[in-house]
Symmetry: C2
Subunit: 505 residues, 2 copies
């Protein structure tokens, strides 16, 4: 990943303000003891230096990490109060070293540290696996069961802690969340922190980030990581009254690099370039393509990276898009999207369970559960959100808090079923009813509003299968009599909304 | 309609077998007394003649009916046993006359008869009204609430009488039914009557119709008419093991003309050129176009005429198609179809309530009711069918009998609501929720799986409206407090599946 280093060097040659930064500390987050960092944890080295001028724009800092034959260059960042930091997440156990550079000058000293085995529950980052699916770096499968709390980190500690408590007992292992605060229906609150320094008059100084904003964000991302929840970080969005959606291009780019320098080392980070990119009227497609290139260049880990649309879909076939993030409830198109993109497809906005007037925020719990089942049996993943009216406008989708709906326990039930399965499930082509299968092993049918009293399923002749009738709403699994092989007639209850699972006996 | 006369004369000039047919009787169906026929009733004159040769192919008979300035030529038909008949349905009260022609020779005698006012319950034939809707000839509105019993007239009297009894207490006012018997899953029975004479060896003589088959069919059509049910007669279909779907073109054409001569005078007849025309692999698009032209030419009343598809839609914009008969459950396309065809659209196969293994025959009652509501609030009409497994394979959709499902009472409820409305309802363009409206007077919203706890409806400022909350499944109508005008916030129960009606106070 030498591109980051090359780039940074070029940018900062204009001034050699810093003859050298003084090492302040080296610490490994998520594990006590210096110079030791768990695999996929966050290693951090900090340095102090003068606060004169504008340290955000006039000073650059980076480090080259080395392990055996590999070198990885990462950018550091100024964290205020005369402190600079470099973060790094090592992906292999054993000895690593790093050297620091600042404003183009490389420090000759090489510092070693040790990467140790991960803690229990640390499976590493999630990446694409088997074309259409996901997996953790340690080999475990990862099935996204995401929810949406766009502005939850801008609500103050009381509500944010409540959100974390809710998430802890929820089925969700991914959270769509905005970095910039959100100004929108049900979301008319000023945040405790702003991303840029503000003058006494309230104007923003786009040349100076506000470190407490990012420190707070990082703490929340780290807490999600501890809970096994992926943070799908939305870098830009149109719901704005502060100006963050219409900053100069150079500020956009600096914001991206700063954010990546601070956050990319957290293993649960996913980049979502935007929510509803096509509603950000101040930016062109060329801007979004440039943002993707910056993320590709600046993120040394190649974290998952997507972009979410409102009406106009971005071309998810482009190589820098790791998975398609889609706003739709048209499940008739899932195979078309899988074929077109050859990537995982997440319908992360298929409307929300709730009762607000807005059509996208008032589908029933039954319909939300149905959509998850349709998605899971059609080879795509689905996202949850909840929008029940609240006297204080604390809607889960916007601000977090607690869940009021009825879908979440059913999604937990579905998640358990999927996680008990063999993984790598793909849709059976032209199945009569949607069916996700691992050929010869496992078949999960969803019958939706169909209610056959019997049906001849077409199983392989190569094995015997045991069948279960699953009621996704009542959350029951009933073992069906006998075993099944080949074309097999199965008696069913003739009730709508059922699923049928076949597993190799 | 001189084309029928011209055509017939040309065809029959080859032989002047008949010097003249002897008048046998003249009768007016549906009312006692000779020479009197109610408006939109069936007037019939019969004649006798020799049975030698092939009276079906060697003799033609027709009549010219005259009322004031109008003349209408109709074809007669041979009804077996030396009897020929001419049927006619007069559309105006007062004195009519007719003259007979046979094998090109016109009888000079002119016979008068009287058209008298219709009986109560006789509203005349249904035709297209207000571009997208239907109405009876007497001005009453007609909203199709159709069901499907493809083969009900081929089941023998016991089952057929049961079907009639079921229909009598059902909400249905249109019946899709095949003229030819049907051979298909759940429909493997030989009919009591066949449309053509059969030799002792079982071969069919396509040159000789079997009059008892048609007499039976006519009796059933007349019984439906008495019950106020339109007979949507399917002229061809692919579900065959007798050869009716692969007859020579000349036989097809003769069958069409014979059927029209016999049945067109029944005011409740609609022509459906085919069910699933694209599955009749023996015929080309040119054949279907020719059939439409024959119907146009031979039917002096211009009865409603459509064609139903499986996968490939016929071009319903063609001028000889009176309304689009569509197999689909994609309600997202309704506006597209209305715009493309500028005609009424009937989704007369949107799948059936039932529990058979076939996907098209096992949707839940809830889903069937939902589809009717979606259609009615989107400006299109929907058809019902029922397919519950039966030990004797008597499924309503195929053979009639009784209804076992739960949708029919809910469709009766919906029909009552629609018939109480002002008529001429059209979909509100880009409505947030599907809404059929008569501007300034009446608005019927269907919220489907949406469950807003409140919603600001956009009513005209010109009047006050009373609002009702309708539960389509529980069949309740609850008057909401107050009156409404302009943009008006309405509190709702926050439950899915509701409808809201606004009527001018």
């Amino acid at each position: 990943m030498s591109t980051a280093f090359t780039r940074r060097t070029a940018i900062t040659r204009r001034t050699a303000l810093m003859a050298g930064l003084a090492p302040l500390a080296t610490r490994a987050l998520a594990q006590a003891g210096p110079f030791r960092v768990p695999r996929w944890g966050v290693f951090e080295a900090s340095f102090n230096g003068p606060q004169s001028g504008n340290p955000f724009t006039e000073v650059t800092l980076g480090a080259r990490f080395q392990h055996e034959h590999r070198t990885i260059d990462v950018d550091g960042f100024y964290d205020g109060g005369g402190t600079w930091r470099v973060r790094f997440s090592p992906d292999a156990e054993g000895e690593w070293t790093y050297t620091v550079r600042s404003n183009g000058i490389v420090d000759a000293r090489t510092t070693p540290f040790l990467c140790v085995p991960p803690d229990a529950g640390n499976h590493g980052p999630v990446a694409v696996r088997d074309t259409y699916h996901f997996g953790y770096a340690d080999g475990a499968r990862y099935y996204p069961f995401g929810t949406t709390c766009y502005g939850w980190v801008h609500q103050g500690d009381a509500l944010e802690e409540q959100t974390l408590a809710t998430l802890r007992s929820s089925p969700f292992n991914k959270l769509r969340m905005c970095i910039f605060p959100k100004w929108y229906a049900f979301n008319h609150v000023e945040p405790p922190y702003y991303p840029f320094e503000r003058t006494a008059a309230g104007a923003q100084d786009y040349s100076r980030f506000h470190p407490p904003f990012f420190q707070h964000l990082e703490r929340r991302v780290a807490q999600l990581s501890q809970m096994g929840i992926e943070a799908d970080l939305i870098l830009f969005h149109p719901y704005d009254h502060w100006g963050y959606s219409s900053m100069p291009a150079a500020v956009d780019d600096r914001y991206l690099r700063y954010t990546i320098a601070r956050l990319a080392a957290y293993r649960n980070v996913w980049w979502s370039l935007a929510n509803e990119w096509d509603l950000v009227k101040t930016k062109t497609l060329a801007d979004w393509n440039r943002f993707f290139h910056i993320v590709q260049e600046a993120d040394p880990y190649g974290r998952l990276c997507s972009i979410h649309h409102s009406k106009v879909m971005y071309d998810h076939a482009k190589p820098w898009v790791t998975h398609a993030s889609i706003q739709s409830d048209d499940f008739s198109k899932t195979q078309e999207w899988l074929d077109a993109f050859r990537k995982p497809v997440i319908l992360d906005e298929c409307k929300y369970e709730g009762n607000i007037p807005q059509r996208w925020g008032n589908i029933s719990a039954q319909e939300m559960v149905r959509r998850f089942w349709l998605g899971m049996t059609s080879g795509v993943y689905v996202g949850h959100g909840e929008t029940y009216l609240d006297p204080h406008d604390v809607l889960w989708w916007g601000r977090g808090g607690t869940l009021h709906g009825e879908s979440a326990p059913r999604l937990a039930f579905l998640r358990r079923i999927i996680e008990e399965g063999p993984g790598g499930l793909n849709p059976v082509p032209n199945a009569y009813f949607p069916c996700a299968a691992k050929a010869g092993e496992y078949y999960l049918y969803f019958l939706d509003y169909h209610q056959p009293a019997e049906y001849t399923f077409d199983l392989p002749e190569t094995a015997q299968f045991q069948a279960d009738l699953i009621d996704p709403w009542k959350m029951t699994i009933t073992k069906l009599e006998g075993t099944h092989r080949g074309k097999t007639l199965v008696k069913l209850p003739g009730a709508p909304g059922m699923a049928v699972r076949f597993r190799k006996a």
